[in-house]
Amino acid sequence: MKRRDFLTKTFGAGVLASGAISFGNFSNLKAAGASNHKAAYDMVAIRGGEPEVMFDRGIQSLGGMKSFVKPNQTVIVKPNIGWDRGPELAANTNPQLIGRIVEHCVKAGAKKVYVFDYTCDNWQKCYSNSGIEKAVKDAGGTMVPANTENFYQKTSQVGGRRLKEVKEHELILESDVFINVPVLKNHGGATLTMTMKNLMGIVWDRRFWHKNDLHQCIADFATYRKPDLNILDAYRVMKKNGPKGVSVEDVTTMKAQLISTDMVSIDAAGAKLFGLDPETIGYIKLAHEMNAGNMNLDELNINRIKI
């Protein structure tokens, strides 16, 4: 091969390859795996403080954010931002809490912290009126839109009983760490919405879930996509008219927070905080049956912190 030919060809191949990397879909090669953290506790439960303070104390007892986020990693923080409602209505995750989590990630050396939700109401209004957009920007995170199909990529790895494949937000597939931060609240269809239900905000085709046994689909997805960390915000809790709520009269101030890597445990504990028996909530039972996690709180090593 002549030198000139060689140069032209290698250059061409390089251009092609870099083009393919920038435009192609190689994200599946780098699937965000479940975490292997051996934490001191299975779950941390905190009560009585402001959202940020409770999180500071809670994450500290798990070895700090650095046990979950390594320097230069990309992180997804996924709150519930489903509704065009202010923070006092508790339809969305507490903005102060989200801000503080992003701060911790940045401090732990995260290269990039993305925050998004596939909202039900108009997404710009949800992002701004929830207070989350501002909190995230102030803390050094990036808000990402998620309400159009172009962001979603098909995965047929779900392997559930009803749910076989979904279209999942590409950043979930591309990022290193996935932190799930829902708010605890009443839900007309699913009884309660907590960590497992919150994952409906990372998939495109959620109408399918509603059509094909909601509880089973939630449990199915929980066996496939396991966040590296779950934080359940129960500072303000919408006790009725959920998940969107009508007025502040639906909301009680509970000042609680749960942190765990196990969604099933955290949802079971969340149900108890709410005043319900986890056994009565379809998806918790199903997810436990399918080994997505442990709903038997007696078997867990729980760190209870009172502030």
């Binding site: 039900c120 108009n122 007309g188 699913a190 509603h210 046994d213 009508v246 009269e249 079971a268």
Partner: protein
């Protein structure tokens, strides 16, 4: 060239109007404040006239201003304020790109099509008098400009934006985001496409022939301008009948042969004034009676080369084709489960909040589609014949595309005709545009015995709420007295082909009750940590 400043002024104003209005019809980010945009729509003749008649408000006297200005200066409206007119000037200008001949040889005098233009004006006027707004809807230049930009150009703008968002997304920049028109009715593109082709063709070939033949506003202002104080006329003493003025006259209303200007067709572009070095054509008070002279015109024929025609056809084809493609792109996802059996029997389409009801809306809306472009959730979509022939192309709320945001009043702020009257956010929250209907036999809770609750989840007032059903299941229950008809339930309902819950429009809008607010019963567990 004493008149250079007039033309410069005309071009400057017209470009501002064209830019602002075309942007308003394609923008999705509420970039322009509505009060600012209102300044540009306030002065559009037919919308302003309709708003005046409807609201009997001094605030909507834009059309009076236009009439007065026309009485003073002639039809300058057509060359400065009317976006359809300015768009034609732009198109007409592009003709020079394809022509080997010089620009000043573009036009020659032609006779007016009086019978056609006066009949179209009369039909529109009679329609307005007798409450049939359909002729204004079909002929009003502002509304047709709106239809073209909202239905045909907006999808292109969205497409370009989405490509940009993709590229920036690759660089981890999320300032730009994808946006969809959610338009699904192909048939709604036919009329805007037809008007666009007509306007492009006529303006490309014949300058302002559309404005002087089809446009009822042009014809009316033409009649008024016959009595204008300032007029363009030929000075028979200095005119040498060289024909330079007629060659630049887009209205083709300068008859050099007879040294006459048909001022009723003059759109006040002032191009002719600058073409004459001898002040043979002039613009000053009281012109009108002219001397006749009989000298042969010195005009050269303008020929059309075939390439030009082809380029034009292709360009129009591309615009329409891409709009159709984007209309198709919004197809509903197919959900492969048992099909529902009971059709959604709706009596009325849903008109936008603030429009009072179908009668007021149908009588006042000229289908300019500004609300469609401005709607942040894209729930407002063009109708085709949902309202019948009389409401052709008028907007409706399409709950298969999206739903109406509980706190949003944007459409009522932008409407230039008063078809959607202004609403406060508080009033909006009790404006009932339709009522919810629950069809239990289509509902998955009933047919499949599985949980759902998508409808109740989205309901802003809890007019749809989940109540205990069999076992641990909950099923929707509706209370139409607090329903605002926003359509969130219908949008969210997963059953196909028929939904288990839907909104039937209110022929006349009603006032919904505010949802009752009950204090919480304290049912929290007593322990700090109940586990």
């Amino acid at each position: 060239m004493r008149y250079k400043v007039l033309k410069t002024f005309r071009v400057a104003v017209s470009l501002i109007f064209l830019f602002v209005l075309s942007f308003a019809f394609v923008d999705f980010a509420e970039t322009l404040p509505n009060w600012f945009l209102g300044g540009f729509t306030w002065i559009q003749f037919i919308p302003s006239l309709l708003e005046f008649v409807n609201l009997v408000s001094i605030a909507s006297i834009g059309f009076v201003v236009i009439l007065l200005v026309t009485l003073l200066f002639g039809r300058v409206y057509c060359s400065t304020v009317c976006p359809m007119g300015i768009m034609q000037d732009v198109v007409s200008r592009t003709r020079t790109w394809f022509s080997k001949k010089k620009r000043r040889k573009r036009f020659k005098y032609s006779r007016p099509h009086n019978r056609l233009r006066y009949s179209l004006m009369a039909i529109t006027a009679l329609g307005l008098i007798f409450g049939a707004v359909i002729f204004s809807n079909l002929l009003d230049p502002f509304s047709n400009f709106g239809k073209i930009f909202s239905q045909l150009i907006r999808p292109l703008y969205y497409g370009a934006n989405n490509i940009l968002a993709n590229i920036m997304g690759n660089f981890d920049v999320y300032t730009f985001y994808h946006v969809e028109t959610k338009q699904s009715a192909w048939a709604a593109l036919i009329y805007p496409a037809a008007i666009l082709m007509l306007v492009l063709w006529l303006s490309f070939r014949k300058g302002r022939l559309y404005c002087n033949t089809v446009c009822p506003v042009g014809t009316l202002l033409g009649l008024v301008s016959k009595a204008s104080y300032y007029k363009v006329g030929i000075n028979s003493h200095t005119c040498t009948q060289c024909g330079k003025c007629a060659a630049v006259c887009k209205s083709q209303c300068i008859d050099v042969k007879n040294k006459k200007v048909d001022f009723s067709r003059c759109v006040g572009c002032f191009n002719c004034l600058n073409s004459c070095e001898l002040s043979g054509i002039d613009y000053y008070p009281g012109y009108g009676k002219k001397n006749k002279a009989n000298v042969k015109p010195n005009l050269s024929q303008v020929t059309v080369d075939k390439g030009r025609r082809e380029v034009l056809t292709k360009a129009v084809g591309m615009v329409i084709g891409s709009s159709i493609l984007s209309a198709k792109a919004y197809a509903e996802e197919v959900i492969p489960t048992k099909k529902t059996t009971i059709p959604n029997d709706k009596n009325f389409p849903v008109t936008p909040p603030g429009s009072l009801g179908i009668e007021h809306f149908n009588d006042t809306c000229t289908a300019c589609h500004l609300c469609i472009s401005a709607c942040p959730t894209h729930v407002i979509q063009p109708s085709v014949l949902e309202y019948g022939i009389g409401g052709f192309m008028q907007p409706r709320l399409d709950y298969h595309a999206s739903f109406c945001n509980y706190d949003c009043i944007v459409c009522s702020e932008v409407c230039p005709t008063g078809a959607i009257m202004s609403l406060t956010t508080e009033a909006k929250k009790t404006t009932q545009v339709g009522k919810v209907i629950f069809e239990k036999d289509n509902c998955v809770v009933h047919t499949e015995s599985t949980s759902c609750g998508a409808c109740a989840e989205h309901c802003p007032t809890k007019a749809v709420r989940m109540v205990p059903y069999e076992g641990t299941l909950t099923i929707p229950e509706t209370d139409e007295s607090i329903c605002v008809g926003c359509g969130a339930c219908e949008y969210a309902c997963p059953t196909r082909p028929f939904r288990a819950i839907f909104v039937d429009g209110n022929g006349e809008h009603q006032v919904a009750k505010l949802p009752e607010v009950e204090a919480l019963e304290d049912d929290e567990p007593l322990e700090e940590f109940p586990f």
